[in-house]
Symmetry: D2
Subunit: 245 residues, 4 copies
């Protein structure tokens, strides 16, 4: 079982960075490039796409051969066309592509379609302290993270988080303002895997934090299309395997 080099596509809405100088100062090349750097440094094959690319950056040829799709969106979810959403959803459930949804992508159309719930939560933008506690230290997505990750300033997300019960729960967040949140959750959907990771409001330098980068690297590996994946047999089976006496 030799491990192939995963191919990653990072999709970013890429609007805040172009309209808000404070965000541009934090992410001059865009959040997608900030996310791509550490993954490239770890030896992954990484391409990027943005909402304003041709085909919204989600044409078939952009998705072909991708093992994990990383998604960051916030204010323009509605501009992603439903055909593209269905394309992404089917790549996950029918071909085993992984999806790593970051922060406000809890409201992105592909994540909503895969969850089947409203994905509502509480939120507050007050630059408060967040601590992400490891609840499953043996989980691959927690590899290299000991005890907790501390972020000095983040947006608050609070429970209840309206998602299906996660198949894997890796991180819980504590917020200075008094709330908690399931910040690192995994789900199996069809042949693929989905991971949601909470941190990353655009006005904070979260994606420059080495431990946040490590978790995203772990999640990208965990969610990647598994080796030796066999396409399942489906549909009509005329002939029984046993005599029907």
């Amino acid at each position: 079982m030799t491990q192939r080099r995963p191919r990653i596509l990072i999709w970013n809405e890429f609007r805040h960075e172009r309209m808000n100088p404070a965000v541009a100062a934090l992410y001059p090349q865009g959040i997608h490039e900030a996310l791509a750097g550490p993954l490239r440094a770890a030896g992954l094959e990484v391409s990027t796409a943005t909402l304003d690319d041709p085909g919204h950056g989600l044409a078939e040829d952009r998705l072909d051969g991708i093992d994990t799709l990383v998604w960051w969106g916030h204010k323009a979810h509605a501009e992603v066309p439903d055909e593209a959403v269905d394309r992404v959803r089917k790549r996950v459930t029918e071909q085993g592509m992984g999806l790593v949804a970051l922060h406000s992508s809890h409201f992105s159309k592909p994540f909503l379609a895969l969850m089947g719930t409203g994905c509502f939560l509480k939120y507050r933008i007050a630059g408060e302290k967040e601590r992400l506690w490891v609840v499953d230290p043996g989980h691959p997505v927690a590899a290299g993270i000991s005890d907790c990750i501390e972020l000095d300033h983040e947006e608050m997300y609070g429970e209840p988080f309206d998602v299906p019960p996660p198949d894997d729960l890796v991180f819980l967040s504590w917020f200075q303002g008094g709330e908690v949140f399931r910040s690192g959750c995994g789900w199996r959907r069809g042949l693929g895997r989905v991971f949601y990771f909470r941190p990353g409001h655009e006005t904070y330098p979260t994606y420059h934090h080495p431990q946040i980068q490590r978790v995203i690297l772990n999640a990208v590996h965990w969610a990647a299309r598994p080796e030796g994946l066999e396409a399942p047999v489906r549909g009509r089976r005329e002939t029984p395997l046993e005599p029907l006496g």
Copy 2:
């Protein structure tokens, strides 16, 4: 914790019964009435609706106050309008209505929307024997069922069943022709619960079987909107509960 009398709506496509004399002979008043009888006999408040009713039988006023919606559909899934599907999905996730999806309803639009996967499976119509084995004897949906339910003639459904990992797995089916299937599965979705129960191809008298009727009664109770349900607090929380530094 006194138990209120659950209000049930049984929705049936009601096409086979009107077009196929063999089905009409088994279910002269329609599958919905065959399902309603035992639930009424158990003291539940039961109404029925069909695809060809005004508003496709799914107008707001038909759904108001319903604790569990039972769904049977097969060949006309596409005729259910998306607005109605979204209405049903939100009643489950945002108001706690239960959904019990029967047999070919694995491909019904509300079930697909709540699962987020393709819900594919194998199938064969050969009138073969099915045994539904109880795998979780302590589960309320298995109440009154000892060991297994035997059906002389049913359609075969085979794995892999393309659904999210069930939160509750209650029954596994054995088929004479050589396949197996997760025939009784429960999921929590938002405030509500969804139960899928496999048996019930229209050309067999499955819904007249007392143990099948008992499982559906159990499932309708299990999925029903819980007592004392509190609508969750969501959205913007301007004021922190604790002072921010």
Copy 3:
């Protein structure tokens, strides 16, 4: 499905109350009586037992007919004999008795035996504030609780909590000192159910809090032996149900 009146046994170590005046002042009749009051007021049939009763309060005749056993222990876990532990464990897995383990009972022998893990956690006794957030508002154990329960002074328990992934996760705790904890967790074990509820350090008046009492009432109902439970068929099955070859 008429609901029978559940029979509850509350087992309490009952040592702190007799040795520590501060605890005696909070729970003059013992924690078991403080827990019993609200359950009796809700119409349940409640008996109590303590470590120093004959047979450690866990003789067969004390357990006969019990639907849910509530357990509070702290410093004398080791004094509970292994035969009694095995008796309790088998009542849960083989007869469907519920177990509700409170606070420091995470280290009680019956809970450890049912979990199979070390059940380790972090702790700090500093009288800090705790908030228990509802993460699954549709869950029966959260019935009547809106948003969160606030306790002014409690012991802190922190993640990672070394238990198997809960089948049901209902509450998450926020602590003033910076930690979080999965404070309300359910598991299915054999024919029975186990619920762990975190609050209740003996030096705080936690069990006099109406919302804490409501959660314990909910948990006792949720864990109770299900109606119509059928003892599963096991062991050697000489005769196949179908002809071989």
Copy 4:
């Protein structure tokens, strides 16, 4: 994330092979060597141990550095001393060692201790046909297996299988005699993982079947101690991370 070469210990009771010529004919070097061959061929570092070795083959130095322990036992479960069982259990939950329990090892003491349930099931030795169907085709343990594995002659195991709800369900078995079984189940326990794989009665050549060997190879990898595992922080935390104002 380079993948280290996992170190495997295969523990076998090794009694049937020495007492029953029919079993010796199938497994002349013992079941442990039959299991070791394909794992060695796949490049894993494999050692073996048996019940009659010094320290029952389970001394600390045999377990040191082991990433996955494979276990086969049947008639001599009781001869494994409780200290050794506790040693194995703690290696899994506290150090992340994987455990792959095969066939009649559902009644082995380490598996029972990790499950917390009775692990009862139905059985019949009649040399009937078994089909293991893949229910989760995207799961790493199903890698390389398409649709189902067919075994001409095996012992029957039937539901209900008295184990906690699996965190991962990969295979379901169909038996010619009419029963079904959850034949491939995974659980997370503490820092480690446990996989149960059903086939392998000693009087059949099951472990010579290439697809069965592939599943065991997959399971050994899946269960292996994860890379970058951080020992969790536990116990007393004197100092709060935040002021308790």
